[in-house]
C-alpha cells in the first residue's frame, strides 16, 4: 500500500467515526484538559506572585522554572512511575496505569510551561499597573485577581499552549498509563502502538486527528490574540 492510499484510507476511517477511535480521542481530551485545568489553577497565581513580588531567590526560581520547561517527558514518566509503583510512597493510592497517573504526568510537564508563559505575560503589563495598584493600596490577593482578570485572554492562550504540549506528549503517559485499551490509551500512545503493529492506516488516522487538534488549538490561540488586541 502506497502512502497516498494510506492517507485516503485513514480519512475514510475517520469519517466512519469508529467507536474505538472516539474512545481514544475522548481519553486524550479528558486527560490533557484535566491536567491543564489543574495546572492553570496553580501555575497562574504562582506566576503572578513570582512576577510582582520582590523576594530573595526570585532569579533562581525563574531560572529553574525556565529550565523545567524542557523537562524530558520520559524522565518525568519515570519519576512518576517510581512514586506510584508498588514500592513508591504513593503506592497506596493505586494510581499507576490509570488516567489519573497520566493526568499527574502531564500536569508536571505543562506546569513549568504555563508558569513561564504566564510570568512573561504579567511581566509585560505590570509596569503599567504597578503605580495604580500601589496608589489604591491593593493587597497581594486583590492585585493578583486584578492582573489575572486584565490578562484573562492571554492567560487562556498560555493554557492552550500547555494543552498543545500535553496532547503531543507520549513518553510519560506511556510509562505511567501503560497504554491499556479503552482505559489509558490516548492518541499519541495509540499511534506508537499501531505503527509498531504495522496498522499504518489506523496510525495515520490517529495522527491526522492529532494534527487537526493542534491546528484547532493554534486557530483558537490566534483568534483570542486578535480579539485581545482590539
Amino acid at each position: 500500500m502506497d502512502n497516498t492510499s494510506i492517507i485516503i484510507e485513514a480519512l475514510v476511517l475517520i469519517s466512519t467515526l469508529d467507536e474505538n477511535l472516539i474512545d481514544i480521542i475522548s481519553t486524550s481530551l479528558t486527560v490533557s484538559i484535566t491536567a491543564v485545568f489543574f495546572s492553570c489553577i496553580i501555575s497562574i497565581p504562582v506566576a503572578v506572585i513570582i512576577s510582582i513580588k520582590e523576594f530573595t531567590g526570585k532569579n533562581i526560581i525563574t531560572t529553574i522554572v525556565n529550565g523545567l520547561m524542557g523537562l524530558p517527558p520520559v524522565v518525568v514518566g519515570l519519576f512518576i512511575y517510581l512514586l506510584l509503583s508498588y514500592q513508591g510512597p504513593l503506592a497506596a493510592y493505586n494510581l499507576l496505569y490509570t488516567v489519573w497517573a497520566m493526568v499527574i504526568a502531564q500536569f508536571v510537564i505543562v506546569t513549568p510551561i504555563i508558569i513561564a508563559l504566564s510570568k512573561q505575560t504579567i511581566d509585560s503589563i505590570f509596569y503599567e499597573y504597578k503605580d495604580f495598584i500601589k496608589s489604591i493600596g491593593l493587597t497581594t490577593f486583590k492585585s493578583m485577581t486584578l492582573l489575572i482578570w486584565e490578562t484573562r485572554d492571554l492567560m487562556l492562550v498560555n493554557g492552550l499552549a500547555g494543552l498543545g504540549r500535553a496532547f503531543a506528549e507520549v513518553g510519560a503517559v506511556i510509562i505511567v498509563g501503560g497504554n491499556i485499551a479503552h482505559e489509558t490509551r490516548v492518541l499519541t500512545t495509540s499511534i506508537a502502538l499501531e505503527t509498531s503493529r504495522g496498522d499504518l492506516v489506523k496510525a495515520m488516522a490517529l495522527g491526522l486527528i492529532l494534527i487537526l487538534l493542534s491546528i484547532l488549538i493554534s486557530t483558537l490561540t490566534n483568534m483570542i490574540k486578535t480579539y485581545s488586541c482590539k
Partner: protein, 204 residues
C-alpha cells in the same frame, strides 16, 4: 500639614532629591511646578506612597487614614479591560460594597464634564473604553478616584489631555474640592490655575 523631612531619592546614580524638605498646608490647593525631569511626579509618588524614598520621611496629619483617604490621578490614565461602569467603580469595589450612592456621585461628576447632558453620558457608556479620547479617559480616571472623596488628592498633570472648555470645568471642580480637602497638583498650566492658590512649589 504634610511635612517632607530630609527626603532623598535616586534612580541609579542620579539623585532626584537629596535631603529635600518642604511643608504643605493642611487644606486647600498646592501646586508643584518645574521643568521636565525635575522630579515633580516622583515627589507626588513619594507622598502618595507609590514609591518609597531612599531616606527621609513624610508626616501626614494623624486623622488621615493612608489606606482610604488618599487618591491619585495619574498623568497617563490606566483603563482596565472592562466596561466603563466597572472602570468607574473599580476603586470603590476594592474598598467597600458598591451602592447606588456611589453611582450617583459618579454620574454627578461626569455631568460636570458633559454639560449636564445625559445623552452624551449614555454615549460615553456605550463606547469601547480603549477607543475613548485621552481627555475622556482622564475624566474617567478622575471620577474613579473622586467617588470615595479622598481627603488628600494628588493630581499629576490633570489638564494634559483636556481641551480648554473641560480644563476650565476641572479648574472649578478642583477649586470647590480643595475647600474641604487637600489637593496637591503637578501642572505646567500655571496660566489657568495661578489664581486658585499662592502655594506653589517650584522645583529646579
Amino acid at each position: 500639614m504634610i511635612k517632607l523631612e530630609n527626603i532623598s531619592k535616586s534612580f541609579g546614580t542620579k539623585y532626584v532629591f537629596n535631603d529635600f524638605n518642604h511643608n504643605f498646608n493642611g487644606n486647600g490647593l498646592s501646586i508643584i511646578n518645574g521643568p521636565n525631569g525635575c522630579g515633580k511626579t516622583t515627589l507626588l509618588k513619594i507622598m502618595s506612597n507609590v514609591i518609597r524614598p531612599d531616606l527621609g520621611k513624610i508626616l501626614f496629619p494623624s486623622k488621615l487614614k493612608l489606606d482610604n483617604d488618599i487618591g491619585y490621578v495619574f498623568q497617563k490614565p490606566l483603563m482596565l479591560k472592562r466596561n466603563i461602569w466597572d472602570n468607574l467603580l473599580y476603586i470603590v469595589s476594592t474598598k467597600q460594597k458598591i451602592t447606588q450612592r456611589h453611582k450617583d456621585i459618579c454620574l454627578k461628576l461626569l455631568m460636570k464634564f458633559y454639560d449636564d447632558n445625559m445623552k452624551k453620558i449614555n454615549n460615553l457608556f456605550d463606547s469601547n473604553i480603549f477607543k475613548l479620547s485621552g481627555g475622556e479617559q482622564q475624566i474617567i480616571s478622575l471620577a474613579r478616584t473622586l467617588i470615595l472623596k479622598p481627603k488628600l488628592l494628588f493630581l499629576d498633570e490633570p489638564f494634559s489631555h483636556l481641551d480648554d472648555q473641560r480644563a476650565n470645568k476641572l479648574v472649578s471642580l478642583i477649586q470647590s474640592y480643595s475647600e474641604n480637602s487637600k489637593v496637591i497638583m503637578v501642572t505646567h498650566r500655571l496660566d489657568i490655575v495661578k489664581n486658585l492658590t499662592d502655594d506653589i512649589l517650584y522645583l529646579k
